[in-house]
Amino acid sequence: MKRLGAMGLALALLAGCSDDGSGGGGGGALGNVEAMLFVKRAFLRDDGTENVTGGNGQTIDYLRYEPGGGLFVLSPPTPRGRLTNLTEEFEGVDVNGVDLSFDGTQAVFSMRRAGDAHYHIYLTNVDGSTTPRQLTFGMHHDVKPIFVPGDRIAFVTNQPFTEMGTRADEYNHSRVVTQIATISIAGGDADRRLCSQNLSHSADPFLLSTGEIGYSRWEHLGPVNDVKLFRMNSDCTNMQGLAGSGGKPANSLVQMHEIELGRLVGVATSRRGTIQAGAIVEIDVRAEGGLGDIVFDEQNARFTRLTPQVPLGEEAPPSGVGRYRRPFPLEDGRFLVSWSDGDVNERNELAETAPNFGVYRFDPVTRERELIYDDPDFWDVYAIPVRARDTPPVRGGTIGPIAEDDYTPAVLGSIDITQTSLPERVSGAQFDGTPLGEALEQATKVRIIEGFSSEIGPVREFGLTLHEGAAIVGEARVYDDGSWEAAVPARIPFHLQPLDRYGLAIRNQMTWIQGMPGESRRCGGCHEDRTEQILPPTGGTIAQQAGAEDFNVAIPDRRELPWAGAVSGESIQDVLDRNCVGCHDGGANDPFAGRTYQVMATTDEGEELEFNVPYLLLTDEPIEVFFEMDVVSYPASYVSLLYPSAMMGEVTATGDMPPEWVNPGSARRSRLIEVLNVNAEDDANAWAWETPAHPENVPEFEGSVSREDRLRLVEMADLGGQYWSRRNVEGADQWEERTYD
């Protein structure tokens, strides 16, 4: 493809254009700003082909390396401005993140260069008077740095947490999940501090005027798969939601900047397929009710689409509309943006026509764009006006050394768990559309569930479920005042489930939470109203007075629920063998004997195979196809109970279809649990469902199923119906003597 020269095209576009392609006008420079810092990223390979999506298929990816770009200053910031290359002395440069110091004199950036297979953090003077200084090293990528108060730099890294790597959700196929880390400007890697783990990428850090670090976080927990906004202190404490948890206009919120306290601007787009570009969206996270300058309310964040014609998903925009990247707020209410016309989606990949991102000034009122700079041979991105800005405060005590070691627990808890602002109802067992706040009044415990994934070893995901690996670290008592406290292993991801007296989850928290060593993370309630003050009584809650329950236990002491084949400990199949297989074995006494449904499969040779899946068979015999092929398989009980809820889309099964025995993530809505029923911890004669308990309701049945065994099945369903656990992994016993967290 023949390209116009940079200056030629820049002049051609100088008249500007608008979001809807109608054209527009404007001036030139960025007011009284004398220079602009930005990055040129290459997309043309040496052989003339184009690298369109390589390494940036997802909005939160960071591994797109195409050498030839650099970090530049344009002065004055006009198409005719003078370019200074701050990375000129390096070969094979790609820069994928940059920020400007508070005094406007230094740039911190992430660069990969020839001879180094990784992106690392560098610091240089914007006036080009110094050689860039490398601050981080090693066999991992450090990207997208920002300055934070206290002479530190925060950035994104895929550094493994331990020798055993980093937790990575099942969509992080290559285990390159990222977390936030910080270094000091003076010490670089020598003062490197890693924030808590998540199962999916943390990305795109940005600074809030409170001194906190905002960031985008890919959330994968069961059926949740999106990118929301979070914030935390610069010492990685107090990680909490910032926007998106209460709904958002697109799957992914990325590339944010703060306009002013509580007002953000960034990109809303699909999680993948838009070449990391999308619509510009303004987000107001200030709490209503006069507390906006104090309190953020992520549940009720308000979104404004500033580019309404730009699609929020992967579809192609109308001609002239294009997609945007990384809006940077200017003092006059406008934004410095990167923009490209065209599809800016995977169709560019198919046709090998890369988008052409240039730098523009965007007016959100007129929706006009004014060209600042465009070199059509590069993607011109990450533009920042070179000017001083206010330094946010250092959050109290956040920069001091982390006094505790990594084995010091974090404390999780609530002041009153019945306090909630979540607009939800609960159904199943004793609840029938009961408002969540009312249902929570029946909470007696809080189940704390650790998340992990296939980084544990050879398991092909966790079974027929969307849920990650799960372990119960403990169930904390809820006291009469609604309070609870638990000391849990630091740094690792958890989600919570308030439980009723039957051990059934009332709600399944679908976001991961973490705590740093020694940190106390005490909530007002179960997602309490952010505009209300939930204060502990003088002297503390009952839970505080009682002291946090100690769940800071090693991996072998956490309760996992392997279905079968565990190296150690009991399995779900053991529970079934003990209580269910006596009848549900396909034999003469099995009421479902002979009932099957059929699933068709096509072989590579085009042969049609038909498999019979039992309606309900609870033995451990392998499903026939696996047994014959001598490959690790699921037993009949697992396929029988979980396959009905796993068959997504247009199922090709025919025959005697069973109900969805297990509703992954909700025992309360699982037919299996409803049939079994479960009795209360405090009253063995009180049952969750009014229907009689099974199998005791069968006249021929002798004996009874213990409450503990019923609870194992409840936990199995509440946790997501996983098949695999760490107990299935050979060598798991070594976790007793090895640090993993």
Partner: protein, 297 residues
């Protein structure tokens, strides 16, 4: 649950607003954590239809195929299986091969047969490219049964296959793979050794620090660089002399940087002396940057 209740166009500015409402009364919603028909519940992540899967397999770009297979993780499209399987050996795009293996390993009624076909290709196909791709597929299947097949294939005469075996073993992440990966650190081919040193951090329980110290003397600069970083990370005993030698005289800036950082992590007096000596002697600015940081550990 989507709590955006309205999206209206403001006439004056043409801006679209979204609004949220507080929880009360009739606004309350049942929250589902499972919907078989939809699959994932977040915006834009709904399970594709079988037809959409077939279209993406047949005509889509690699990016479209990857996205479609990913959101179709549990979509039963039996007609898709043989088409996706062909990608394992036939696609020239490594990402397409990887996502294809990932999707296939969710196919309850097909994965066993496909696994065995890949085993056969790895063991006996005449084409080393196909054998290498089969090794990567077996790794991505993440079946413990893959360990034996991959370990046996490490004896392949083709370095390309041995490299793929190492990468496949790393994906499998079976503790039994560590011995083979350690052996691969001394492979005759540099690409295999590079693969082995690259995957150490992906292997649970790898503790063969002797093999890592030995790799400091590798002919290949990339292997030396990674070995130095790993020696520092594992705080390997007795590596100061070798690291100091690299810092003093290795021809590669990256190796000297890695040696400096490793010495800093070891933190012994001998390590510190080596760093001070190198700093005083002077070097490339990138190496001096590393020494400056290393002396602060």
């Amino acid at each position: 649950m989507n709590r955006i209740t309205t999206i209206t166009t403001a006439l004056a500015l043409g801006l679209a607003f979204t609004a949220t409402a507080r929880a009360q009364g009739d606004d309350l919603e049942e929250v589902l954590v499972h919907d078989r028909a939809r699959g994932e519940l977040s915006e834009g992540t709904g399970a594709p239809t079988q037809e959409a899967l077939m279209r993406a397999i047949g005509n889509g770009s690699p990016e479209r195929l990857i996205a479609t297979l990913e959101y179709g993780e549990h979509v039963e499209c039996h007609a898709c299986v043989p088409l996706v399987e062909r990608n394992l050996l036939g696609s020239d795009d490594a990402e397409v091969r990887r996502i294809s293996a990932w999707w296939l390993r969710h196919r309850v009624f097909a994965i066993a047969q496909i696994f065995h076909r890949m085993e056969d290709v790895l063991a006996s196909d005449a084409d080393p490219v196909r054998r290498a791709r089969a090794a990567r597929a077996i790794g991505e299947f993440m079946l413990p049964a893959g360990l034996g097949a991959l370990q046996a294939a490490y004896g392949d005469e083709s370095a390309e296959v041995r490299e793929a075996v190492v990468l496949g073993l790393a994906r499998l992440n079976h503790s039994g793979a560590n011995v083979t990966v350690a052996a691969a650190l001394a492979d005759a081919d540099a690409a295999v050794r590079r693969a082995a040193i690259e995957v150490i951090n992906q292997l649970n329980f790898f503790r063969d620090t002797d093999a890592l110290v030995g790799a400091l003397a590798d002919d290949d600069a990339e292997v030396r660089t990674r070995a130095a970083y790993l020696v520092g990370q594992f705080r390997a005993d007795g590596a100061e002399v070798a690291l100091a030698g690299l810092l003093r005289s290795d021809e590669s800036v990256n190796v000297r940087q890695a040696a400096a950082i490793a010495l800093g992590r070891l933190g012994t007096s001998a390590a510190r002396e080596a760093l001070v000596d190198a700093r005083d002697r002077g070097d490339d600015s990138l190496v001096l940057d590393a020494i400056d940081v290393a002396l602060r550990f």
